[in-house]
């Protein structure tokens, strides 16, 4: 119990930090979560990580609930609530403070430079996320094909992603993937 609560403490501290680095939401920090949770601390297996991610995508609500699910899986209800609070906390405080600031700071020169500097970094992280999930979720040629087809359909059509997830689930059941 003691080692588990100290592991929860470490995880929470890490999430508090990630909250500040998660520019553009949870998706760019997926590789970092995978590194921390799977590679470094072995809290989850790669398969569990991928399955929880799939569950979070298939559920309603903001995709930050993926972190809630990791907390739940590893530490139960306390883990779910603490990890949600940790990943949202620092960012929400900043969002609140920003509410009170005048909009003029957005046109200040240092701010424009900071913003333009962050864009390529977030983009690199986002590509790393896509790369990681492709490797982590797929093992066969057919599964890579599913990823590719879904990617193209999302880009080219306005189809609801839930249909794509459901169809892919069905394809799995009948043994296509």
């Amino acid at each position: 119990m003691n080692s588990s609560s100290s592991a929860l403490f470490d995880f929470t501290i890490h999430l508090l930090l990630l909250s500040l680095l998660a520019i553009g939401g949870i998706n760019p920090i997926l590789p970092e979560l995978h590194r921390f949770v799977v590679s470094e601390h072995s809290l989850l297996s790669n398969e569990q990580f991928v399955t929880l991610f799939a569950l979070a995508q298939a559920a309603p609500g903001p995709n930050v609930i993926f972190v809630t699910l990791i907390g739940w899986q590893v530490y139960g209800l306390v883990g779910a609530l603490v990890s949600t609070a940790a990943i949202c906390g620092p960012a929400t405080v900043i969002a609140y403070i920003a509410t009170g600031l005048s909009e003029r700071w957005q046109s200040r020169r240092w701010f424009i430079i900071l913003r333009r500097s962050l864009v390529p970094l977030t983009t690199g992280l986002m590509i790393a996320s896509a790369w990681l999930l492709c490797i982590a979720a797929n093992s066969s040629l057919a599964s890579y094909a599913v990823t590719g087809i879904v990617g193209v359909l999302v880009l080219a059509t306005r189809i609801n992603p839930l249909w794509l997830l459901a169809t892919a689930g069905f394809a799995g059941i009948i043994g296509l993937v």
């Binding site: 970092e32 559920a59 390529p120 599964s143 799995g172």
Partner: protein, 198 residues
């Protein structure tokens, strides 16, 4: 609650100075974000916009665009940032807290319910097979999102090299994100600054 809201306005005068911001009761705020949280399959953003701009008319379309732009600059999930921002604008700190709880409470309950079901039935072969397919599709969603983000950004040597550096450091070297940001951000700022002065 009321007292706290007034206290907070003193600390944060820009909130109360904003003209034309409707004062909304906490129960209304909670209910509105509760419904958004439940409806947001495959991305909450379109639902939050419809609720704020079209249904409740708490924000105009241009105000929403402004709030969205701001939330994309801030760290943290965009949808959460918008929720906190709107809650705070409507009813101070209690508003921010209530809107956040409204948004999150049902998704958390649903996702924990789903994961309990998975824990119970995940060993069954059809469930396992289905999740293999769903996971591959979920990866496809992220690939599409990455492509959408990268396409307009990767148009100069600066953005391509910086993004590639971060990608390699994360995907191949497996460095901790904190290090990557600490190393890459100064380089990015310097390069952006120089590029702007040219």
């Amino acid at each position: 609650m009321r007292f706290e809201a007034e206290e907070e306005e003193k600390e944060n005068p820009a909130l109360s100075r904003r003209a034309g911001v409707p004062r909304v009761g906490l129960p209304q705020l909670f209910q509105a974000f509760l419904l958004v949280g439940l409806s947001g399959f495959g991305g909450v953003l379109p639902f939050i916009r419809r609720m704020l701009v079209e249904e409740r008319k708490w924000l105009t379309a241009s105000e929403f665009t402004e709030v969205l732009a701001l939330s994309q600059l801030l760290p943290g999930p965009n949808v959460i940032n918008i929720t906190v921002h709107v809650g705070a604008r409507m009813a101070g700190i209690p508003g921010a807290v209530i809107a956040f709880l409204g948004l999150m409470i049902m998704p958390i309950a649903v996702v924990i319910g789903l994961s309990m079901l998975y824990a119970r039935y995940g060993d069954l072969q059809p469930v396992e097979d289905a999740f293999r397919g769903i996971a591959s599709a979920a990866a496809g969603l992220i690939v599409a999102m990455a492509a959408k983000i990268a396409w307009p950004v990767l148009r100069s040597a600066r953005t391509i090299v910086l993004a590639a550096m971060v990608f390699v450091a994360m995907a191949f070297l497996g460095l901790p994100l904190v290090w990557i940001i600490l190393l890459a951000l100064p380089v990015a700022i310097l390069w952006t600054w120089v590029a702007q002065n040219e």
